[in-house]
């Protein structure tokens, strides 16, 4: 059975959703950063469509996480409020940039040419993911810090630029509001351009930049991820860049397998999880680079 246009087999979409959901459940991530490149590489979905479909699927996962974290009382809502305006603006900017790049033609490299949209979007994707993998790998090299529960203020929390505020829920004092607002702008732009929820980029910033314990970091920023997924989906759908059937099938498949991934993660130590997380991110980088090379013609 085939879902919509472009044709994607329904079982294939469910299997991809299940595989990404398993990884997402294991590492506590949304999996948007895996979904977009795999849709392009495995099913040949055009890049703008893969970005919009990834964002659409993310609405469901972000909504569930948001409800759960609210119930568990994890996360710092003030951080979310500061991230939100920049993030929403960034999503629109990112979607406009993607549309512009889609119609910008190709770059000629001798006898070959490569579309600008593939070069810039997939190149940025690979660089961002390489940075995130490096962060997880470097900080997963042992160290005795209890990363799940212990707060150790990081370099970003010491910046006193512009107005400052306290973040009592995570125990940080006098944090720069301007820095957080700008992080929101960058995050939103990445979300609109690359189709990632931003969790993969925001978590290292919160854990290593601000020094938040993982339990608090994963509950922070989810309101923003949900809002950026909604705005991003709306903007991309208005341009016809969302495949609702594929997004729905992957969402259902991923929801079930995420439970098994979460169960599997209980048998692993924090440092093993961190390193495996880095390896999975590198796999996504390899998929992106593979597609980039295959775009050369």
């Amino acid at each position: 059975m085939i879902v919509g246009e472009p044709s994607v087999p329904i079982l294939g979409a469910a299997a991809l959703g299940a595989a990404v959901g398993y990884v997402a459940g294991m590492f506590g991530i949304g999996g948007g950063f895996l979904m977009t490149p795999l849709l392009v590489v495995i099913f040949g979905v055009p890049l703008p469509m893969a970005v919009g479909t990834g964002l659409c699927q993310m609405i469901g996962t972000a909504l569930v996480s948001n409800l759960r974290h609210r119930k568990l009382g994890q996360g710092e809502r003030r951080f979310d409020i500061l991230l939100l305006p920049g993030c929403l603006l960034g999503v629109e900017l990112g979607a406009r940039t993607l549309s512009f790049l889609s119609s910008a033609g190709s770059l000629r490299l001798g006898a070959h040419s490569i579309p600008w949209v593939a070069l810039i979007v997939e190149g940025s994707y690979a660089l961002l993911l390489l940075f995130v993998a490096w962060s997880y790998w470097r900080h997963g090299q042992g160290g005795k810090r209890d990363v799940l529960n212990e707060l150790r203020p990081g370099p970003l929390s010491r910046i006193r630029f512009g107005p400052t505020l306290d973040l009592p829920a995570v125990g940080l004092r006098s944090v720069s509001a301007l820095v957080i607002a700008n992080i929101g702008l960058v995050l939103g732009f990445a979300s609109g351009l690359l189709g990632i929820g931003g969790g993969v980029a925001l978590n290292p910033v919160l854990i290593y930049g601000y020094g938040l314990p993982i339990r608090q970091a994963v509950g922070t920023g989810i309101v923003v991820l949900f809002a950026s997924a909604v705005v991003g989906t709306f903007v991309h759908a208005a341009r016809g860049h969302v495949h609702l059937g594929v997004a729905s099938v992957m969402l259902v498949g991923g929801a079930v397998s995420a439970q098994f991934g979460a169960l599997a993660s209980r048998r692993m130590s924090g440092s093993t999880l961190g390193r495996m997380h880095a390896l999975v991110i590198l796999l996504a980088v390899a998929a992106v680079l593979w597609d980039l090379v295959s775009e050369l013609h």
Partner: protein, 48 residues
């Protein structure tokens, strides 16, 4: 190819699926707690 309502559909459908998923998780957890109250729940609260 797609109508004026399509962007709204694309937002509402995953919201609906997400809500059903959340309610499903809640029911599953309650059943699990009733059966094995001493056992920790899986790390699903990390799902973002």
């Amino acid at each position: 190819m797609f109508g004026a309502w399509y962007p709204i559909e694309c937002v509402l459908v995953p919201c609906l699926i997400g809500t059903v998923m959340y309610l499903g998780f809640e029911l599953w957890e309650r059943r699990r707690r009733r059966k094995r109250p001493d056992n920790d729940l899986p790390v699903i609260d990390y799902l973002i």
